[in-house]
């Protein structure tokens, strides 16, 4: 009987997927960048044990790490949509939730998920720097900020890099879940041509290949960066 696999159609779907792959990359990169910014702040707050804030942020991280991304996306989506409508009705605005571009909700939801993971990576990297380094920096008269910027962060970065890379890959993969709130990303784009002829297998394989390529490229870039950082560190030591 032979395997009923339409390879030409797979390439058609792949073209669609590539055309929309920028949406997927945007969905991963925007939360990633905001996650690094917020995540560093959160990691520092937790490392310096700021009293109430540190506890609250720990709670945030336990909740995000303990619940599925799928639920986080859906809860934020419904909370924003329903909350916005109530708010708009309350203050007599003419715009409604259906006017919001859903990609912003996807950004917010993925950032909520990504920030927790990224801040844990950064916290782990900061904790991996030896205590003596902080003490040595203080003992030569550096302020806390100077010590962080000149001594601690440069040492923490190479440790954090592989973990941040896997955080970014995690975000690329998690972004496939935005199909639930009907954002057209790479995967949905690949499925559009399949909706007329039911060749879903070809479409999903096309999407998988494009995701795979994106993630391999991210891994390679991270690997190159790691090597550069390593080389620079050796230069400093010599």
């Amino acid at each position: 009987m032979g395997l009923n696999f339409d390879i030409n159609f797979m390439f058609t779907a792949m073209q669609q997927a590539i055309k929309y792959s920028w949406v997927t990359m945007l969905l991963a990169v925007v939360p990633f960048v905001s996650g690094i910014t917020l995540g560093t702040v959160i990691a520092l707050i937790r490392i310096y044990n700021v009293r109430i804030l540190g506890r609250l942020l720990q709670l945030y991280i336990v909740i995000t790490k303990g619940t599925p991304v799928m639920l986080q996306i859906l809860i934020i989506y419904f909370a924003v949509i329903q909350g916005f409508d109530l708010f708009a009705q309350g203050v007599n605005l003419s715009i409604r939730s259906k006017d919001i571009n859903l990609i912003y909700i996807a950004f917010a939801a993925l950032a909520f998920f990504g920030t927790a993971n990224i801040s844990e990576s950064i916290r782990g990297a900061l904790a991996a720097v030896d205590c003596g380094q902080y003490e040595a920096a203080y003992s030569v008269g550096l302020t806390r900020q100077q010590a962080l910027r000149r001594i601690i962060l440069p040492q923490a970065l190479p440790v954090a890099l592989p973990m941040l890379c896997s955080n970014l890959i995690g975000l690329v993969k998690a972004s496939s879940l935005v199909f639930m709130i009907s954002v057209t990303d790479l995967m949905n784009a690949a499925l559009i041509p399949a909706n007329t002829n039911y060749k879903y297998l070809e479409a999903y394989i096309a999407a998988a290949i494009v995701y795979w390529i994106i993630n391999i490229v991210i891994e390679k870039i991270s690997f190159l960066l790691e090597r550069r950082l390593d080389a620079r560190k050796r230069e400093v030591l010599v």
Binding site: T67, P68, I169, K173, Y204, I205, A208, W212
Partner: protein
Amino acid sequence: MGEFFDARLVCEYFPQLLSRLPITLLLVAAATVIGLAVGTVLALFRLYKIPVFNQVAIFYISFMRGTPILVQMFVIYYGLPAVLMTIGININRWDRLIFVILTYGLNLGAFLAEIIRAAVAGVPVGQTEAAYSVGMTRMQTFFRIVAPQALLAAMPSMGINIVGLLQDSSIAFALGIIDVMGKARSIGASTYHTLEAYVGAAIIFLVISLLLEKGCSIIEKRLSMKIIGDRG
């Protein structure tokens, strides 16, 4: 849509959501068993660098780690019956849950393979040499000296991956599985209190994840007591 959020409804939906918990747990348990088996075999291919199998394992692990599990699920759901049809096996009537369990098991296997490989490779060579020097065979060395130490080293990462599997299981509803997540969705669709249903599901997932983590750390402690405990 009168009220934004009614906390009482969350409690009201709890029993309905909990009634679907066995499906979620079955999925996680079955996938963990498959994942351990697949992961061990792949790790052995990689460790002993068996030609061809080693390359296949690298390819497989890279694919499973580089693509979303959602896509993998559909590839297996549409692909496996098509492939088996060519050799005359019809599995179109199989329960969808089987495809989901298979996907999650195969996916977990790729992640566990890397963990197991790193753990076994991380046992110092001196341990193996010491075992040989007291006259142990290769098998004895592996099962009595290397494997227990590797298991101990692998436990924390394995625990993290199994918790991750629990959370990924929430995507199974996309194939129409009525687990905790699927039930939350159907409650949301029939009552329009979507937010409350999802928050209820989130609480269940949170509690189960914390319990799983606790369980893993207890097993880890027990194991380390058993393996290296008598050293003090």
